[in-house]
Symmetry: C2
Subunit: 201 residues, 2 copies
């Protein structure tokens, strides 16, 4: 807004909302108005939930997940398979894998990937704890669920080296055609990988 049309308090709310991923300046204004209209049903509980998150969310000292308890809900869940350790870049990736619900193992959040260009080295990632967890024993397989990007694959190879003197099996996610995907829209690299790793029917 070029000129002040409301008190600074409302403009500050809009500016902060606009910094959320997925909201631009226009949708932040719409969100602010929506919040003001739904003061008791949404604005108040959301402010409270943020307050609680600010006070109580911690990073799990074992796996790097975020939760309101340490160890986190997943690490504390005895029913989960402790022999399988799924390594992910971010907590968002962990949540995505949990939604897929294909594995009920434990997780390990790296907090990023190796990226020389961005100045991210091994010390910036949660790698020492990963080696520690593997050496503590009980882990049979480490699944590297990192992104299929150059940095992700570099990180995967680095971890393979790190764990080479341990007896664990290290695997990575399959490459291939996304479920529901159309071949015509896929890049050649994916198609070639899907052909190479074809499975019998």
């Amino acid at each position: 807004m070029a000129e002040r049309i409301a008190g600074p308090e409302i403009e500050r709310l809009i500016q902060l909302l606009a910094r959320l991923p997925g909201l631009g300046p226009r949708s932040a204004r719409r969100a602010a108005l929506h919040l003001i209209r739904k003061r008791e049903e949404l604005l108040a509980p959301l402010a409270d939930a943020m307050h609680v998150a600010r006070e109580r969310v911690v990073v799990c000292s074992s796996c790097g997940n975020v939760d309101t308890r340490d160890p986190c809900t997943l690490c504390a869940d005895e029913r989960r398979d402790a022999t399988t350790l799924i390594v992910v870049e971010t907590v968002g990736d962990l949540w995505a894998l949990e939604r897929a619900g294909a594995v009920r193992g434990r997780y390990h959040v790296l907090g990023g990937v190796l990226s020389p260009l961005d100045g991210v080295g091994p010390r910036d990632l949660n790698l020492a704890r990963l080696v520690e967890r593997v050496r503590e024993g009980g882990v049979a397989e480490v699944i590297l669920a990192v992104n299929a990007t150059v940095d992700g694959q570099t990180t995967a190879h680095y971890i393979v080296d790190l764990l080479s003197d341990t007896p664990v099996r290290v695997t990575r996610l399959a490459h291939g055609v996304p479920v529901g995907g159309e071949l015509d829209y896929l890049d050649e690299g994916t198609l070639a990988a899907a052909l190479r790793q074809r499975t019998s029917l």
Copy 2:
């Protein structure tokens, strides 16, 4: 999330964020993670801004705008032209007109439009105060900046009737081709209106 993967506090934050316009379940999760990562820079100030908004935002008793003061910043601004009253449906429309910055008049927010189907009648809108403001004198022109929908136009006609025994001039926004718009994509009604109301070069 099918199963609990984090404490209920984080899931509650995600659920509340997902109720903001423009955010779905997936972007709400992304926003929650972003907030948790930027705890001091974003989560804390946003929670505070929401708290302030909840405590202090009021509806202006004169024009129906929302602000932290009553009368609102716009009504209190003596430099604004009090002879021009711009009638809008919502505060969002008021903000949009202010961004356009074409008129420096006063506003009047109806809080909706007449809509028999949705059970919205004249008593549900901020109409009595509009007539009062016009009768108090000082207003020369009432610009009906309501949406070009059936309900918006019905409301416009209703207001014209309401103010018919006052000396004010009642106008409405022009119909025509949006600036930057392509004729090929416009509906026939808009094109016909743009032709009828063509201007000399």
